[in-house]
């Protein structure tokens, strides 16, 4: 094939490709003219890069915490006896002879330096352990019902510590504990927001629809709740929880406590929207057709601003996560042996820990990351759901 034909061949391919891309953009544009609201919102959301990335990362975070049994190399209570307060294990990718190799670690030994009274870690370069995928462990049950005996990664020899984020005071793997803690910390947001959503839309709906004395009463209650600072109320209520309650009871109670303040904002928004919508003729028409008040509020009025409610709830989840973390950090929320990001941070209340074992702070990264990503997703949703935004 000579030079000119090759050139024309490539230019034909490129021009074909450009034409194909333009046609696709055109089709997309046309399909948007009669796309449903849900499709439009999805399309706009996809264009919001940060929100999309955050959404994917959040989804992964949730996935990993749900299946923490599999993803975490160790259990929450598994201890490495002689490796308490151990810094993160370093992972090597280059073998001793300078070649790229599978990730491996050196075996470390610990000795107490009698002069400084600090532990010193020495690497035994002759003993290496390769990190393997789907390593075999003792049988366990994924989600308490799927029998399995493999973990995502680990060492052949389970006695050798592989501590990605170091270990805590009792020699437990911080990385594994963070993954398990996500189960409580990430989901308490959903629980709290769900309760807040139910309370908020019911009370806000009633308040807006009926008006009058009911409205006054509900609004005054909301004002009182808003004016009381959140943290003291949470502390008071969670301090009142019986000490002998099990983890599940405590978890549900904390969810309720967190949603006490959460529904007020939503209730106000719902009230405002209902007040304007109840005057619409279709509300009167529904009433004239014999619909009950409940049906009118929840079937005809609330769905009119459901996209707004979803955004509001997405943006409320970080508050719940932070609340749980704060309570558990203070020792009033989730109680050990259950783990949440807050309980993991309890140890860092000691300044010694901060100074000497800074890896104990890694749960904060997860808290900050999760909250930031929720905010990005909420922002993206808000922009996407706004019918007046230019598309």
């Amino acid at each position: 094939m000579n030079q000119t034909t090759a050139n024309s061949f490539f230019s034909r391919i490129t021009s074909n490709y450009i034409r194909w891309r333009e046609a696709r953009a055109q089709r997309l544009q046309e399909s948007l003219y009669y796309a449903s609201q849900r499709k439009l919102v999805w399309h706009a959301f996809k264009k919001h890069k940060l929100a999309r990335i955050s959404f994917v990362v959040l989804a992964m975070l949730y996935f990993v915490s749900i299946f923490a049994d599999f993803f975490a190399p160790f259990g929450t209570l598994e201890r490495f006896k002689d490796f308490n307060d151990t810094p993160p294990t370093s992972i090597h990718f280059i073998s001793a002879d300078g070649k790229l190799s599978r990730p491996y670690i050196y075996e470390t030994t610990r000795e107490l330096n009698t002069d400084t009274f600090k532990y010193e870690y020495s690497v035994n370069a002759s003993k290496t352990h390769t990190i393997r995928l789907f390593v075999k462990t003792e049988p366990y049950k994924l989600l308490a019902f799927i029998p399995m005996q493999h973990k995502l990664f680990g060492l052949e020899n389970r006695e050798v510590p592989l501590l990605l984020f170091g270990s805590d005071r009792l020699g437990r793997d911080v990385f594994s504990r963070i993954l398990f803690a996500g189960r409580i910390s990430l989901f308490i947001g959903f629980g709290g927001v769900l309760v807040a959503f139910i309370l908020g839309s019911i009370l806000g709906g009633i308040s807006g629809y009926y008006g009058g004395v009911v409205d006054e009463a509900i609004q005054r209650v909301i004002e009182v709740l808003i004016s009381v600072p959140n943290i003291p109320i949470w502390i008071a209520l969670s301090a009142a929880l019986p000490r002998d309650w099990g983890t599940i009871n405590i978890y549900l109670a904390i969810t309720l406590i967190l949603s006490i303040g959460g529904w007020t904002g939503l209730a106000r928004v719902v009230r405002g929207r209902i007040i304007s919508l109840r005057e619409e003729e279709f509300a009167l028409a529904a009433k004239a057709a014999g619909a009950s008040d409940r049906r009118i509020i929840f079937k005809h009025l609330l769905p009119a601003f459901s996209s707004y409610l979803i955004v509001h709830m997405t943006l409320a989840i970080p508050g719940m996560i932070l609340g749980e973390t704060a309570l558990s950090f203070l020792g009033l929320g989730i109680r050990p042996p259950a783990v949440s990001w807050g309980t993991l941070l309890q140890e860092t209340q000691d300044v010694n820990v901060l100074a000497n074992f800074p890896w104990m702070l890694t749960p904060t990264l997860f808290v900050v990351g999760a909250i930031l990503m929720f905010n990005f997703v909420g922002d993206g949703l808000r922009d996407a759901a706004d019918p007046y935004a230019s598309r």
Partner: protein, 342 residues
């Protein structure tokens, strides 16, 4: 039978309104939106209610269905008697939110509104909203039956291709089609009475004619009564058997359509007649009714029309006492001192 009502065969009576007074208690005073209205509607008959804006036509209709927002609105006096299967229900004694009231709405009395554009919720399909109404009132029906029934209703009101259009959203319908769908919805439980609150006001004249024709046809088929509220005299004269003329919450004249058109008695009715152009007659100057409607907050004593009346009689019409209702000719009542013998 009250003495100031057009004679009806007692068995055919569907709704009797006796001395209905609906007032709005506002901070700035009481507005007597409906102040002593009487009329009777019978099976297969159409009652036209006419009057200018704010005269209480719609409030009367909403009172029948107990749709008056309360507070501030309240039915302070009177009876609304619904005759159903031999029993008589006084609607005013029911609570607006009561189950019995919800059953009357839509089931016994259907209502269509002035604004077909906004009377459907924008979020659900037309079919969903009609089937919803059917399912509310007919607990025995299942979803697919209700859907079939909705399709039949849409066909009955002249929506082309109802099998497909049933899944359309309200914004995909034109104004006329939406009003037809609205009628279908009001008819889905075969009500005895259909209240049409200015059903054609926001439609153009050709569609208006179609809708009115549709209503007449449906009335012939089902034998329902229609209460037609309008400020369009032509529409009312075409459709109605009886006419009630309202002014400032009072029923000033009541009679058969023929009587009221041939021989309008009340000066207000006469004024209304003079203010519409006639198509076939010689060109005449239109005579508007002079003055403005007095504020409903402080109604003049005596006759509420006195301040605008061309035949005002000082010392008679402004006496602080209720204007007597006079049967000027058989079945033709007027509230005016002109026809008083005293």
């Amino acid at each position: 039978m009250s003495k100031d009502n057009v004679n009806h065969n007692t068995e055919d009576i569907i709704l009797e309104i006796k001395n209905l007074k609906t007032h709005f208690m506002l901070d700035t005073g009481t507005i007597r939106a409906v102040d002593g209205v009487n009329f009777t509607i019978s099976r297969s008959k159409t009652l036209g209610v006419i009057g200018e804006s704010g005269c209480g036509k719609s409030v009367t209709a909403h009172s029948i269905l107990r749709l008056i927002p309360s507070p501030p609105g309240e039915i302070v006096e009177g009876e609304i008697l619904l005759h159903r299967d031999g029993e008589v229900i006084d609607v005013t004694t029911l609570k607006p939110t009561e189950k019995a009231m919800q059953n009357i709405r839509g089931n016994d009395i259907g209502m269509i509104f002035q604004e077909p554009m906004t009377s459907f919720g924008p979020l659900h399909t037309i079919g969903d909203q009609i089937t919803e109404t059917i399912l509310i009132h007919n607990k025995a029906a299942n979803k697919s039956e209700a859907r079939d029934q909705a399709i039949d209703l849409l066909r009955q009101v002249g929506i082309p291709n109802p099998e497909q259009r049933i899944d359309a959203y309200p914004h995909e319908f034109s104004g006329g089609m939406r009003q037809r769908a609205m009628i279908a919805m009001a008819l889905c439980c075969s009500p005895m009475l259909l209240i049409a609150d200015e059903p054609t006001t926001s439609l153009d004249v050709t569609i208006e004619a179609q809708i009115l024709e549709l209503l007449t046809d449906l009335q012939e088929q089902t034998g329902m009564a229609i209460m037609l509220i309008s400020h369009n005299l032509a529409v009312v004269s075409e459709m109605a058997d009886d006419i009630a003329v309202m002014y400032l919450g009072k029923r000033v004249e009541f009679g058969t359509t023929d009587a009221i058109f041939e021989n309008p008695l009340h000066p207000y009715t006469k004024g209304l007649w003079q203010s519409i152009p006639s198509v076939d007659g010689p060109l005449e100057k239109l005579v508007p009714i002079p003055g403005v409607v007095p504020s409903p907050r402080d109604l003049p004593p005596g006759c509420v029309f006195a301040s605008r009346c061309s035949e005002f009689m000082p010392g008679v019409c402004d006496q602080p006492q209720p204007v007597p209702i006079i049967e000027a000719e058989p079945d033709h009542f007027v509230a005016c001192y002109l026809y008083s013998n005293e």
